[in-house]
Structure formats: C-alpha cells, structure tokens
C-alpha cells in the first residue's frame, strides 16, 4: 500500500488532467451533429473502401432505429446533435515524438507519456480527439510480425485480416452505442500478435479528448494468434468543461487457441464525460482473457467488459475497480458466457462511493447447456464512504447446465469508525486514514496493475479523499 504523499494535499483541484489545450488548430472540424452525410464524410476523409462506408451507413440506420437505453445511468442529457463527431489536429500518425505538433506533444509531456514509453512500454499510441497522432512499436516486435497501428491505418494496410474480424465480436446492431461507434468510429488501436509471439512489455494507448462537446469514438481490434500473448493498457483523460463530451468506444478482442490477452484500462475522464463503451472478447480453447478495468473518472460510465469462452478450458477474468465521487455514477461490471466445457471464470469487483457518488455492479454469468465442469466465481465488494453514497449490485446468472459450480457473493460495507479512529490515533489525518483504508480495499486488484499505474491509482484515490473528507 502506498503511503500518502503530504505534498499532494497542496493541490486544490483533485482532477489534475483538467486543462485544455487552447493552441490546438484543427485540420478538420466537422460541424456539430449527426446525419448520414456526416457518416459518409468521415469515411470519405479517411479514403475508406466501399464496404466500410456501407457498413457505417448501415450502422447509422441501426443507431437511428434503436431507442436510447433506459436502464443503468441517466442518459437523458445527451444531445447527439450537439456533439462534434470528427475533429482532427493532424492528418497522419507519426512515429517520433519530435514530429508531433508542439502543442500536442506538450500535452503528452504533461501526461508523462514519452517518458513512460522509454522506460517500460513495448509500444505507444496516442489519440487526440478523433485521430491517432502518434504510434510507435519497438523494432524487435515489429520484426517478429507484431502489428500495432492506429485502427484506420490497420484498415488501409491490412485489409484482409481487418475485414475478417471487424464487427464479428460486436456487430453493428449489438446495441445503440455500438451502432453509433460503428457509424462514426475513428482511431483506436489495431493489434495483431502472430502465433507464438509473446509481447513481454505492455503496449499502451493514450486517449485524450481536447475539444469541448467532442465525441470520441475509437475502435480497437486485437487479435492474439495461437499461443501468443500481449498486454494492452489504455489511459483516458480530458479537460474539465462545463458541457458534456461523449466517449463511446468499441473494443473487440479475439484470443485464439492457447493465447493470452490482458487489457488494462485506467479510465480517468474528467467529470463531464459520458463514457459508454462496449468491450467484448472471444476466447478459444486453452486461451485466457483478462480485463482489468479501473473506472475513476467520467460523469457516467456504463461498461461491462465481456468474455465469450468458446473453446474448452478457456479462462476469463474481470477485475474491476469503480470509484464514484460526488455526482459521478459508475455503472460497471462484466459478463462471462460459458459456451464450452471445462471453462472457468472469475469476476472480482471493488467499488467505492463517496459523497453523492453512485456505483453499480452489473454482471452476467451464463452457462450454456452441455458446458460441463464449468466453474465461475463472482465476488463483489462495495465500500460506502458517506451517508449519501449509493451502491447497487445487479448480478445476473443464467445456468443451463447441471455439472457446474457457479457462485456469487457480495458485501456492502462502510469505512468503520473504529478503523478510522485507530488510524487517526496513530497520527494520520482523516483523509489520510480513509485513503489508506480505501487503498487496502482495492489492493487485490491494484497489485495486478503495472507498477507505475498502481502508484498512480493509489495517488488518485488519495487525492479524491483530500477533496471530500474533513
């Protein structure tokens, strides 16, 4: 557990990524609002093949036809006509930080990305509003055939593999927001790891919204071929504006036989961002998929990373941390579909609500008939830090096979006054003591994060405590 850093208590604003970049001079700004012409225009700017234009238009029809979800969080304030669907600062992704426009590079410098890349990443991608502005992967991996490019570049350069998988895990008509993403997607990462290749260090993508009322719709496709492994990390931040932005990503992951993918998210959007994301993976026999999903920021997050265990002995895990401060609603969880025998899964969820914050765990475990000896364990714990905080747990289970072991347990608790009293008697402030308790609570998941993120995570929690306690 990281000890609190006294220097941090000097920072008045607990969201340190809230600046915006006034110097940005966009190359393309499509005017606000959405219609079929906007969809076509995005496709045209990107010089896409006809099949993609058609797919976008079809997805747009699905988006139009579907009602807005009425469950989960409050989506009534989203005005799809008051959003910029395409804003881009540059026309190509570069491979050297020196070639990134100065003002964007300064943003990434502030976020510490180039530094991190040198130290401990195998590759980095940076997306600024609609387009990927930077992408680089270590040469040795490139030589082994690992592809790590922006998704638009993936479509242009690797059309066959792209077309084979795109939209097969999350079809355009899956839900309203997946349809929206398919219609207007831009950016994201396209990753292919060849058979037997292990990418030892994480690949990282950094998503930044800069423009007010921006909609960011990145689309990520990861294919881990047989026996390969990769760890992908994404981080997200945005300026603090008075009006809302929308982030609606789609992430599709294909884990082939014996492969392993870990996907880690540190979601720290500012508190004016609606974060409505569809993430899903398929896992073939003996494959392993792990979602490590940390949701700290945003106004409302609705996100339930899913794992379809399609082959025997496939294994899936969802590790989820949700932190909701004043006015935030984190509606997060995970779904596991057992569709083959001897498949196993684990969902661990830790959620913390503070002030008027609300966390909801929403999860599904489904076992199809014939999936003998499937095992699943779901463990949800919620911690409530104030008497106005709210926590919900919606664990769905559909079990159609006898020979299984499926269990779900959940607890909701508050920070005990005895615990606080004890720590404060040892000289800690209330905020520090609460921070320590919260950090202890999420520790089982934080220890799964790369070290730098674990430190960052604990720091963010501590900052939030400063803002709210005492």
């Amino acid at each position: 557990m990281a000890l609190p850093n006294p220097a941090l208590s000097q920072i008045p604003d607990s969201y340190k990524y809230g600046w915006h970049d006034a110097e940005m001079k966009p190359l393309h700004v499509m005017k606000k609002g959405l219609n079929a012409q906007v969809v076509e225009e995005i496709s045209r700017i990107k010089h896409e093949p006809e099949w993609m234009t058609k797919l976008r238009l079809k997805a747009y029809r699905h988006f139009e036809a579907r009602p807005m979800p009425t469950w989960g969080g409050d989506l009534s304030q989203i005005d799809f006509q008051d959003i910029y669907y395409y804003v881009t600062a540059t026309d190509k992704a570069v491979q050297s930080w020196d070639d990134v426009p100065d003002y964007i590079r300064r943003t990434y410098d502030k976020l510490g990305i180039p530094e991190a890349e040198k130290k401990y990443l195998a590759g980095v991608g940076g997306q600024y509003d609609s387009e990927v502005v930077y992408h680089n992967i270590r040469e040795d991996l490139e030589k082994q055939g690992v592809l790590f490019v922006g998704t638009d570049e993936g479509l242009q350069r690797y059309p066959e593999i792209f077309k084979e998988y795109f939209g097969t895990v999350i079809p355009p008509n899956d839900n309203k927001l997946a349809a929206l993403n398919t219609a207007v997607w831009s950016g994201g990462s396209f990753i292919y790891v060849p058979k037997g290749v292990h990418v030892e260090l994480p690949l990282q993508a950094y998503f930044r919204i800069n423009t007010e009322n921006m909609g960011q719709f990145e689309r990520t496709l990861i294919i881990a071929d047989e026996g390969s492994s990769v760890h992908y990390v994404e981080g997200c931040t945005a300026p603090t504006y008075s009006t809302a932005s929308l982030h609606s990503a789609v992430v599709e992951i294909i884990v082939k036989k014996g492969a392993r993918v870990r996907y880690t998210t540190i979601q720290n959007w500012s508190a004016n961002v609606y974060n409505l994301v569809t993430k899903r993976s398929t896992v073939e026999e003996d494959g392993i998929m792990e979602w490590v999903d940390c949701n700290l920021g945003s106004k409302l997050t609705m996100k339930y990373p899913s794992i379809y265990l399609l082959g025997e002995r496939a294994h899936g895990e969802v590790l989820s941390i949700a932190f909701a401060a004043d006015g935030q609603h984190q509606d997060a969880g995970g779904k596991i579909i057992h569709a083959a025998p001897n498949t196993t899964s684990l969902i661990t969820s830790k959620s913390i609500s503070q002030g008027t914050g609300r966390t909801s765990y929403r999860g599904l475990v489904k076992v199809y008939p014939g999936c003998k000896r499937s095992k699943s364990t779901v463990r949800c714990d919620a911690l409530l830090l104030s008497d106005e905080a709210r926590s919900d747990t919606y664990p769905y289970m559909e079990i159609d096979e006898e020979d299984v072991t499926i269990g779900h347990e959940a607890t909701v608790s508050k920070v005990g006054s005895e615990q606080l009293f004890y720590l404060m008697s040892r000289g800690l402030s209330e905020a520090e003591a609460s921070g320590m308790i919260v950090n202890g609570f999420i520790e089982p998941i934080v220890k799964e994060l790369p070290m730098e993120y674990a430190v960052e995570m604990n720091r963010l929690i501590q900052l939030s405590m400063e803002g709210a306690v005492g």
Binding site: W71, I399, E402
Partner: protein, 444 residues
C-alpha cells in the same frame, strides 16, 4: 361438462354477482369495484419488466370460469382463543361476523402504505445484447394480480390476533380448489396487533391434469412487537398456473418469518414484498423449492428496508429435477433514511438433472452507508461428487445418497421452522421429490 355462462366470466358483472350472492355489505362491493377498476387500469406485464423477463404469461389459462363457490377452508380454532378475540375463519364468513376487522385488514386501492421516493427511476425495457434489464425499485408489475385478487376473490382465510394475545399452537388452514378449468383468487389476510403471537400454515391444493389459474394473494400486517410465523405450502396441481403476490408489513420491533414451500403447479410466479416499515423490526424470508418435470418456478422478492435498526434475511433453496427451472430475482433495498440495518439475501440451487436450469439474481440497492451488515450470495451447481461418494461409502444407493444430500441442503431452512406440526407437513409435502426422513435417520 359445465356450460360457460356469462355470469362466470372474470368481469365486473361476475364480481358484483359474487358480492350479491354472498350478501356482502355495500362498502365491500364498492371496494371490489374500485379494485376491479384498478386492475383494468393496470397493464398486464409485457415480459419486458425485469422481474417478468423469465416467465411468459402467454399460456396462462385466462379463458376459464371464475370459481364462484370454492369449498370453505378447513379451519379449526380453539374456543378459548375465540373467547380472547382471536378470529380465524373463512374470509366469506369473517366478512359477516367481523366486518370492521375485515375492513381494516383489506387494503384499498387508493391507500399508499409506503413512500416511493424513486418512482421517477422506474425501469422501462431492455433491449440489445450489449444492454441490460433495468434496476427495479419496487415490483409494481405484480400490482395487476394484487388488484385482480382483491376484486375477484371468492374465498380465503382471515386471521386476526388481538394485542398481547399469544396463540401457542400453530393454526392450520387448508384450501382446496375442487375442480379444473377455473380461475380462483383466494385472499389470506393476517392482522397481528401489537404484542400478538401467532403461527399459521396456509396450504393450497388444486387438481392435476386440468388448467387452473390460481391467483392467491397474501397480506400480512404485524403491529409493534408482534411475532408472526407464516408458512405457505403450495401443493397445486400439475396444470395450475400460480400467479401470486404476497405482502408483509413488519411493524416496529415486530418479528416476522415467512416460508414459501413451492412444490406443485406447472408455473409459479410469486412476488414477495417485505416492507420493513417499523424501527427495530426483524424479518426472515424463507423458501424451499422442489421442482421436477417441466415445472417453472419464478420468485421475485423485494426486501424494502425503510426503517432504522431493522434486520431482513432471505434464504431461498431450490432442488431442481428433470427439466425444472427456477428463477429468482430479488432486490434488497436500503433506503437513504434507514440507519443501522442488517440484511442478507441468499439463493442456492441444486441442479439434479442435466436439463434443469436456474437463474438466481440477487440485487442490492443501497442508498446509505449507515449499515451494519449487507450482502448477498447465489450459487448454482450439481451435488458435490465428494459428498455423493462419501454417502455411498456409508452403504447408500446413489439415489438414496442424493436424497439425503438434498434433505441436508434443505435443512438450512427446515431447522428455522420452529413449529413442529408445520415442519412435519412441509417435509411430508417435499417427500414426493426428496423422499422421507427415514433415509437420514437410517444413516445417522
């Protein structure tokens, strides 16, 4: 074969005719009329509501006659208790003998018994595989059946226990639907005044083979420090659709345990609504399901912790044979103003056949951090093979071993039944599926 006449259709005319035939007082006739209007104004569940997604009413036998004159419930009451003011009678008789008490016990459509601060959050429908069903704050969609039964009841059981009167022995009421092709909406009303103590077994049966729409409604109200034990033994016939609703109001420092033993019926869909409205109240909500064939049992439970220092624990156990399917969708809600509450919700399913299925969904909605204890658990799976093996090493055949293990599993609820006669009846009713106690005793 009876000729279907206009008078037996489920409509207002038939209901008013029932009222007339029973020479009911004006207020009751008007109450029925008001409930009928409410029922008419309340839409049928569409199947999109979260708690109705797992049971379709498409094949509900709606086109059957209203059962106009069901046999009177088998009821016995000690004279000394009657002398103390205890009333235990068929509801039709109670209406005449104790109109004021019945009037108090019968809910009215215009009365709201508790606040609904979250009405605005009400769920709509869910669509899309990437999407979810809504969270439920209250099971409003059972209101249709609550209203129908209050309009169209033609029999039922009435139990009143005055303040500080203790009924030591369990009271038993048995109601039998004596023919098929009918719709029957019995009401069970229990009013336990402050400090009253009472235990009631409420048993329901209907014939096999012929469709019955059974819409039983149970309304239990307990006053301050009342002690109520209520067991509902559902032994309906194999073609009966049991669409019921139960409401339990737990008063200040009252202690109420309900048990639903679901044994019969083709389809059972019951909404349990446990309202912890008095400070310091305690409730236990117990369930035993033993189902086979193509039985479909779907329970919704709503534990509403709306007062401080209350405790509410739910435990539902299912043993599922053949192609039986059990769904459980329960919500524990802790209101923002309820301090220092304790609650637990537990649903465990033993799958005893490859074709059995379970959907246990225990939901928590917690609006305050001032809680002592809150949690839930759900499991589904086959019998632990190690247990089975162990039992067989003790000389049991595999089928005997299985029954013994199921009985051991049920024991978690059975041991909480503190009335011996009720325990015996429940075990007898379960014996058809899980065998008799001899098996266990033989081993022990």
């Amino acid at each position: 074969m009876t000729v279907r006449s206009e008078a037996t259709r489920l409509d207002l005319d038939a209901i008013l005719a029932v009222s007339e035939a029973n020479r009911e007082p004006d207020w009751l006739r008007e109450l029925r009329r008001a409930w009928w209007q409410r029922a008419e104004a309340t839409p049928w569940p569409t199947g999109k509501e979260e708690e109705w997604r797992r049971t379709s009413l498409e094949r509900l036998p709606r086109d059957v006659d209203l059962l106009l004159d069901p046999p009177r419930a088998e009821i016995r009451l000690d004279e000394s208790l009657a002398a103390n003011g205890v009333v235990f009678a068929d509801l039709r008789d109670a209406v005449h003998a104790h109109p004021d008490l019945v009037r108090r016990a019968l809910s009215a459509p215009d009365a709201t018994t508790h606040d609904a601060p979250d009405a605005a959050e009400h769920p709509l429908q869910s669509v899309g595989s990437g999407e979810w069903g809504p969270g439920v704050t209250e099971f409003d969609s059972h209101d249709k059946f609550w209203a129908l039964a209050h309009a169209a009841w033609t029999g039922g059981t009435f139990l009143y226990v005055p303040a500080d009167v203790a009924v030591d022995d369990a009271l038993l009421a048995r109601s039998i639907v004596d023919r098929g092709n009918v719709a029957y909406f019995p009401l069970t009303l229990v009013l336990a005044e402050h400090g009253a103590r009472v235990t009631l077994l409420d048993e329901h049966r209907s014939p096999d083979g012929e469709p019955v729409w059974f819409g039983g409604v149970v309304d239990i109200r307990s006053g301050r420090e009342a002690y109520v034990r209520y067991a509902n033994l559902q032994r309906l016939g194999d073609a009966t659709w049991n669409i019921g609703a139960q409401r339990v109001e737990v008063g200040p420092s009252a202690d109420v345990t309900t048990l639903n033993a679901e044994i019969g019926s083709a389809v059972t869909k019951v909404g349990l609504d446990v309202r912890m409205t008095g400070d310091g109240g305690t409730s236990r909500v117990l369930g035993l399901l033993a189902a086979g064939d193509d039985q479909h049992i779907d329970i919704n439970a709503f534990q509403d912790l709306a007062a401080s220092h209350v405790t509410s624990d739910l435990l539902y156990l299912s043993a599922l044979y053949e192609r039986a399917r059990a769904a459980f969708y329960g919500v524990t809600k802790v209101r923002s103003y309820a301090k220092q509450t304790s609650s637990y919700q537990e649903c465990r399913n033993l799958l005893l056949s490859p074709e059995a299925g379970a959907e246990p969904i225990p939901v928590l909605e917690i609006e305050t951090n001032d809680i002592l204890r809150c949690g839930h658990g759900a499991t589904a799976g086959a019998i632990d093979p190690v247990q089975l093996f162990y039992a067989q090493t003790r000389g049991l055949r595999p089928d005997e071993a299985e029954r013994m293990i199921v009985r051991g599993f049920f024991e978690q609820v059975v041991h909480q039944i503190d009335s011996e006669p009720i325990k015996v009846r429940v075990l007898e009713a379960l014996a058809g599926r899980i065998g008799t106690a001899d098996v266990i005793e033989g081993v022990a």
